[in-house]
Symmetry: C2
Subunit: 161 residues, 2 copies
Amino acid sequence: MTVKAPELDPKTDLSFTRTLAVPRQLVWDCWTKPEHIPHFFIPKPHRVTAVDIDLRVGGRFNTTFDVEGNVMDNQGVYLEVVPQEKLVFTDAYTEGWKPAPEPFMTAILLLADAPGGGTSYTAIARHRSPETRESHEQMGFFDGWGTVVTQLEDYARGLLK
Amino acid sequence: MTVKAPELDPKTDLSFTRTLAVPRQLVWDCWTKPEHIPHFFIPKPHRVTAVDIDLRVGGRFNTTFDVEGNVMDNQGVYLEVVPQEKLVFTDAYTEGWKPAPEPFMTAILLLADAPGGGTSYTAIARHRSPETRESHEQMGFFDGWGTVVTQLEDYARGLLK
């Protein structure tokens, strides 16, 4: 099956679609296996120093970043896991469905076979308010997430060799 | 299997456990089938006038109340569905994982066979902040949810006859 994209709300959502020259299975593996995440997950030279994944609905998706010497802990959970097609995660909860005081966003990744080969990759960030969407765009959503997907494609290509 | 209760945070969570003299399967059906919901879901004489359920992770759980002539629309989604054991839902999202601006709570229902027969019923409400938990307690969490479970038990008993 191919999962349906949600109906987006331009006031609160950010989104883009790109075609990647790597197979869908590999894109899925990169996004869901802890050994792959540090190779693409944040724009270089920032580094992912720890990844803790329990890939199931309600399971944890926790990462630690080193951004110019500052350690940032990010805690979240998976909301929906449809292998090779759809991954939804958020910082709105930590494991056990404990609500976060001030959630920032909910991310939806949609993967499909691209018509000419490779993978059609859609990234969606949904926010609680227009203000949060706006601040995410100002923080560099398109550059940042674009860099991440370029890093992902480069890294995944290397795995194919 | 029996699902594990999450580790609660007394600062932000409310919870109680009761034993109901009806089978677990029936308690599950009452909570998940739209035809049953109006019979117990809010304290009488308030009425549930509409129920729209898509019982799957991310599916909608929408209800309409008539409270002394005031119509209240409640929209939410299911976060986790483990038949006859665990039901998690929240107003933090509407269908399609659209984040709500100001979520109030996340509810976790846990059902187990009670040692002497019947169903051990645990209701947990998790909140984003101590203030939200406090206001939910002031609004009458224990009375309200207690009344709901009494209504549920009475209604379910009637179905057994």
